[in-house]
């Protein structure tokens, strides 16, 4: 161990370098950065929706916060579980799920939705059976079981939560548009 002093010096140098690096890193991360949180409100349904992102931000999920800032997370939304069927916004809309589906297994082994919604089980559970279109293949030929392309229910059917919409929307369904047209004509 004739090299002992050399090793000690080397170790010291490494330690000092690490300490300097650590200190510099801490300091730079504490530097305050200019913050510009400014919400431009959309006129129509602003109160029901989250404020629109500021400036040229396009990511509504960040709710207008700069990327280098972490904001408090919004409360977790609760799934509506009232079992009351909702109206479809347009004729071909996949109906939304009026109950919670926590931990429902839908994979190649098993499909929990079909426990109640399959044609054969719907009467036992008084559940709306899966539509006939879901037993048809691309060529409109009927199959004995659910069509593989329709197997994964929550690709189209989703639960609804009580969360505030991130982006305001003024969608009107076709019925209200038609009645507005008629009102215009009448006036």
């Amino acid at each position: 161990m004739r090299q002992k002093p050399l090793i000690v010096i080397l170790a010291l140098v490494v330690l000092v370098a690490a300490a300097i690096g650590f200190a510099v890193g801490r300091k730079s991360s504490h530097e305050p950065r200019p913050v510009a949180v400014q919400a431009t409100t959309s006129p129509a349904i602003a109160s029901t929706a989250e404020p629109a992102p500021a400036g040229d931000q396009i990511d509504a999920i960040r709710r207008g916060a700069p990327v280098n800032q972490e904001i408090a997370a919004p409360l977790m939304a609760r799934v509506e579980n009232a079992d009351i069927k909702r109206v479809r916004a347009y004729p071909m809309q996949p109906p939304t799920i009026p109950h919670s589906i926590d931990n429902y297994q839908i994979d190649k082994n098993s499909n929990r939705c079909l426990l109640c919604h399959a044609r054969a089980n719907a009467d036992k559970f008084q559940a709306p059976p899966v539509s006939v279109t879901h037993y048809m293949d691309r060529n409109d030929q009927f199959l004995a079981t659910i069509s593989p392309r329709r197997y994964f229910c929550n690709q189209c059917h989703v639960v609804q939560t009580d969360a505030k919409p991130l982006v305001a929307n003024n969608f009107k369904d076709i019925d209200s548009i038609l009645s507005e047209e008629q009102d215009k004509k009448a006036n």
């Binding site: 079992d83 931990n103 559970f125």
Partner: protein, 199 residues
């Protein structure tokens, strides 16, 4: 070999039949009682030791497969923090049934020694068979292990969602179906269910 065992057994039988010469009746009865208490205590302690989640998940077969699946379900984590451990559902709570189940479980020791399900692939291959054993057991005892906690007469149907209340009233209340009929896969993932009647 056999004559020697026979002679030894005969000697033992003679000793047991003869009244004691050196020990008093009091010593023998009291000593027998204390020894019995000790034996019984040790036996039950050992039994309860094998009836814990720590023991069940001591094997990687259980820890890496079924225990991981349990962790995502409501029986492991929920709003009130009451949870079920492995033996709550898989071992009957009544003593005689428990002993019967424990004797059946000696096959699981055999499986462990010979590595019947010691890889994920082997486990998946056996999964349906294993699940069917549990479904059959719960079906036969009217979902006794579920009902140790979930008592139909204590269920407040008005606190359930409307569809759950309706279905419970219609099928469980009438006694036509039992818990496991609809709630297969409540605590673990289901194997390939093709051809398995559900609901």
């Amino acid at each position: 070999m056999w004559p020697r065992i026979k002679r030894w057994l005969a000697a033992l039988w003679r000793t047991i039949r003869r009244p004691s010469i050196h020990y008093s009746l009091g010593f023998l009865t009291l000593g027998g009682f204390i020894a019995g208490v000790l034996f019984w205590g040790a036996f039950n302690t050992g039994l309860e030791l094998t009836n814990t989640e720590a023991f069940c998940t001591g094997c990687h077969e259980m820890r890496d497969n079924v225990f991981q699946e349990l962790k995502t379900t409501i029986h492991y984590t929920n709003r009130s923090g009451v949870r079920a451990t492995c033996p709550d559902c898989h071992v009957p709570h009544q003593w005689t049934d428990k002993i019967a189940r424990k004797m059946q479980a000696s096959k699981e020791v055999y499986g462990k020694i010979f590595g019947t399900v010691d890889t994920r692939e082997k486990f998946l291959d056996h999964r349906l068979e294993l699940a069917q054993h549990e479904w059959a057991r719960l079906k036969a005892n009217d979902s006794l292990e579920c009902r140790n906690c979930h008592n139909y007469t204590s269920m407040d149907l008005t606190r359930q969602s409307t569809r759950a209340a309706e279905i419970h009233k219609r099928w469980l209340g009438s006694g036509e179906k039992t818990c496991i009929d609809c709630h297969k896969g409540i605590a673990h993932h289901l194997p390939d269910m093709t051809g398995v009647p559900q609901g």
